[in-house]
């Protein structure tokens, strides 16, 4: 990769340690993806905010780099480990809270917008089509490319952080050429968001960087988010397009048999001890939908709903937050189902959710069994 004289100086440490680290990361990712140059990016979304996922080494790294790093572009951040409004209801030790607050402080020092959300695309206005951004958080990267028509690679926590610090990213992969090399024929009828989640998980496993999906006319926001999240979990694919006439060289089917296979891999319980909704976090549309579905009903079990703080505030002023709470939901901001330290083996053995991404991490990271159901089935079975 060709660097400008100024970039070269930064890589050699002439502009300080933070920029040197950032350029070291970009050089490696540029080399890995055969990039010829770095291009400006206009928005970075970084992951690596939850102490539960980055641990002591991550906390220390951020404390050090934030001493002289400053974000050069608009930078939003992923969820952290808890909602400070309700943290006392959960069994988190003081060390966790102290380390999490240190991480929050480090990002603030570098100039991050305290979004604590994995759905920045539902909180902020999207830039115009074709804008180069740098999104870690796999569901957001796939959503930005596929629905938002923006340009990002499926960035890592460090490559997006390096982009935030330098305002640049290697010009390669999906930034340059995003034509699908595989087309998947969707053969499952009457799909809901769970079906699209299972399709996304399958697609992530079989596709390379970009995939075409045929046989799907339209998808609502819940289905889109579900598919983006599960695709990001199982593979390295960073974009999908709905296209019945793709000229992709490889073609595969997603039928009832494949659907069942993925479902059996991820569904490990007949029922859940509690319910979690929101991985990715719920947006306003999903909150209002759910409030409508729950009219006159209430959950029979504990139900946690994860959403961004900005969305919770909107939902509250519109009256939907109150309706959801009346139906027994607990609203949580700044954190997410995925990699949450708040739902553990100490309290429950199993969780019901409609999120494929949530199911994967609840099982692998939290060691919990998961009962997968669509939102409408959850409302039907778990409320009265």
């Amino acid at each position: 990769m060709e660097l400008t004289k100024d970039e070269e100086k930064s890589l050699n440490g002439e502009h300080g340690e933070a920029l040197q680290i950032a350029y070291r990361i970009l050089s490696a990712t540029g080399e890995a993806t055969d990039a010829e140059k770095l291009v400006p990016i206009h928005w970075a979304h970084v992951s690596g905010v939850n102490y539960n996922t980055i641990g002591d080494a991550g906390e220390e790294f951020l404390a050090t780099i934030s001493k002289d790093a400053k974000f050069r572009v608009r930078t939003t951040v992923n969820p952290m480990g808890y909602d400070k409004d309700s943290v006392e209801k959960f069994d988190l030790d003081e060390n966790f809270i102290q380390k999490q607050e240190s991480i929050r402080e480090s990002y603030k020092k570098m100039g991050a917008i305290p979004s604590f959300s994995c759905i920045p695309y539902e909180i902020y206005d999207m830039p115009r089509e074709g804008t180069q951004v740098s999104f870690a958080e796999s569901n957001a990267a796939i959503y930005a490319n596929s629905i938002g028509k923006l340009k990002t690679n499926k960035e890592s926590a460090f490559s997006a952080l390096a982009s935030a610090i330098t305002g640049k990213s290697p010009y390669s992969d999906l930034r340059k050429d995003d034509s699908p090399t595989m087309s998947i024929a969707m053969k499952v009828s009457e799909p809901n968001e769970l079906t699209f989640g299972l399709l996304g998980y399958f697609a992530g496993k079989v596709a390379d960087k970009s995939v075409a999906i045929s046989g799907v006319k339209n998808m609502d926001k819940r289905c889109n988010k579900s598919m983006c999240a599960s695709m990001g979990t199982s593979g390295s694919c960073g974009k999908f397009v709905l296209d019945d006439n793709s000229n992709a060289s490889e073609k595969v089917d997603f039928d009832e048999k494949e659907l069942q296979k993925v479902y059996d891999e991820l569904n490990t319980a007949e029922s859940g001890d509690m319910i979690t909704l929101g991985s990715p976090q719920l947006g306003l549309e999903e909150m209002t939908d759910l409030a409508t579905m729950l009219k006159g009903r209430a959950f029979k079990k504990r139900c946690l709903i994860f959403c961004p703080r900005a969305i919770q505030e909107q939902a509250r002023s519109l009256g939907y937050a109150g309706q959801l709470e009346s139906a027994g939901c607990e609203l949580m901001s700044d954190c997410c189902t995925c990699l949450t330290p708040l739902v553990t083996k100490k309290d429950v053995d199993s969780v019901t959710t409609n999120s494929i991404k949530g199911a994967y991490y609840l099982k692998n990271s939290n060691g919990l069994d998961v009962n997968l159901k669509s939102l409408s089935d959850i409302v039907r079975d778990e409320t009265s």
């Binding site: 050089s27 990712t29 080399e31 992923n78 890592s156 926590a157 990001g232 199982s234 593979g235 990699l339």
Partner: protein
């Protein structure tokens, strides 16, 4: 022949070869280096001190922090080698200074689990 060097270094050690891709977040214990995903073909094995061969990384972008943590906790592999590089593995190894190589398919296929090899 090594196809490409992403993070420089020269190592000699024993190969731990995975037939499946690796999601570094949520499937590896960053304190011990053990693979915790029960469905993974390396389930229960430790990647500490190995030359870790795997097809490529998948999943979460935060896996890069796991790679960095493995190094900080002294349980990282000596080096990693893949068939295809993804940004999570490349950036994690770059920051942690773990040598990282892309191998040609011939070379990748010829190296077996347990082999003693040198890279870099």
């Amino acid at each position: 022949m090594t196809k490409k060097t992403i993070v420089k270094g020269s190592v000699t050690g024993k190969v731990l070869k995975s037939s499946q891709p690796i999601n570094f977040l949520g499937t590896i214990d960053k304190k011990t280096g053990s693979i915790t995903d029960q469905k993974h073909n390396l389930s229960g094995k430790s990647i500490k001190g190995s030359i870790l061969l795997f097809p490529h990384g998948i999943g979460s972008s935060v896996g890069a922090y796991t790679i960095y943590s493995l190094k900080s906790n002294n349980v990282a592999p000596l080096a990693m080698a893949c068939q295809k590089i993804d940004l999570t593995v490349a950036s994690g190894c770059a920051l942690a200074n773990i040598p990282l190589f892309v191998l040609s398919s011939n070379e990748y296929d010829s190296i077996k689990d347990g082999d003693e090899i040198s890279l870099g």
